[in-house]
Symmetry: C3
Subunit: 206 residues, 3 copies
């Protein structure tokens, strides 16, 4: 993995864990709850990807650093939730970086296994947004991403650009990854800046 | 796989995805939510079966058709929920076909791995009803099948007939499959027609 | 597996299934719901462990006894909930035994795969408390263990003692297992007897 991607992966893991901790604070859980939600949010997407693609032990089993990065922010939020929350803006942007990196990593891993383009894109979306879905399932909320943000869509766009540029346009791996990162981050950034939301389904009232 | 079973499998996937889309409409999710719930409902049961039986990559990773059949109906419901809902009766019956086919496929896959009869039946039930449980877990509802219909029970009956006729009565595979299909569909049909429900647990009030 | 551990594993499976059945009774589910919750509670933790560690078919696929022990108590509670509930005190203590045994088994399996100490402890906690989390996720409640008891913490303490005594102090396997069992059970027992709870997160009100 390129050092920049690797760094983004670690950073994304930690930021996703922060968001899990903040979700635990909303529910006033105990510290075990903070740790569980932080870890599930941080590694849930990549874990499902590894299971579905039959990649052997999931990625964090041999890499304790991911476990630490996935757990420690939960403890941090438990003891300093106010301070963490006062940086909410920074967390949202760091989360957008994590989203883009996770999408690109998930897509890249799937492409290495020579799956179809559709599946590769799906694995990018799953890696980027699966942890957030699991977080909300565990804490008994309707998954946020299902109701609000341009989130899974950003991962979808970035993953599709990466797969498309590689397979249709024969782009070099570095170019495809950079393109995927930029598009995923850009769509998410547009959603944050202009407060774009996917429209909720409206039943016809007649 | 016999062409009829294969067709039923595809049809069942699409119908289960429709039911996932309708479940998303009840919650007024956005289109990402429709797609997620459709896909989870359509492939969730078979996915858990493949993971538990260690069958390598799960079945849809190499078969984009399942992904399309699991996703497209969610998009369809988002844009035409009223039209889909007006065919509710047809959907319920198509769902019953899917239930029977999924139960038979799950049981058959497990039997190929020479597991015990108990596990084979369990895998039939899981394949047929696991997606619906996941759907309700993700959208934050108590799983419907736990409270109402003769659903898991129909899968159980069909799977048991298939395993029993093969292992106890030495039935030919085609006969066992046909028997399992008929029984699963028959139990479900009886439940639909006569509105049979499993009794809910009643705590003694004394 | 040592016969005593094996016995504890079977007993723990059955007791966890009882707790799943009682959780179904609170929700007034039908008998399919009782069976599902009993089974998920009983084998959920070990199943996730086996999937994450890539141990092939999960442990109960070839061992119908686990399926029976995971399902039968659910049926029992459905038909005799009052009698089961009148033994609540005994169930809580049997559950504490199950917790300790599951933690030690999960940790031991992970150590056999030579994972890091951190991962080994995590697998002990997951094996012991994962089923309870899944139970509450399926029945649409915030996981109990996230809000109340010294539960995951007891598993954590026992697993840590087992890993630490083996790797840092070179303890014989039997000694490490006995130590882990005692500590996990002891922490849980202390929590039961003195009604110790982890403090819930309190947002600062200023």
């Amino acid at each position: 993995m390129h050092p920049i991607i690797q760094f983004g992966d670690y950073a994304g893991t930690a930021v996703f864990a922060l968001s899990g901790g903040l979700a635990a604070a909303q529910k006033r859980l105990d510290i075990a709850g903070f740790v569980l939600l932080a870890f599930v949010t941080a590694v849930g997407g990549g874990t499902m990807r590894d299971l579905l693609l039959d990649r052997g032990e999931v990625f964090w089993v041999r890499e304790p650093l991911y476990v630490i990065l996935g757990v420690a922010p939960g403890v941090l939020v438990y003891f300093a939730a106010d301070r963490v929350r006062s940086r909410e803006r920074a967390i949202i942007w760091a989360d957008a970086v994590g989203l883009a990196v996770f999408a690109v990593i998930g897509t890249g891993i799937a492409m290495q296994q020579q799956v179809s383009s559709l599946t590769a894109v799906l694995m990018g979306v799953l890696t980027a947004s699966g942890g957030g879905v699991l977080r909300d399932v565990v804490r008994n909320e309707v998954p946020l991403l299902l109701k609000r943000e341009l989130y899974a869509v950003a991962a979808l766009a970035g993953s599709a650009v990466m797969v498309g540029s590689t397979r249709a346009a024969d782009a070099a791996p570095g170019v495809a990854v950079a393109g995927g990162l930029l598009v995923a981050f850009g769509v998410r950034a547009a959603g944050i800046i202009w407060r774009l939301h996917l429209p909720a389904f409206q039943p016809r009232s007649d």
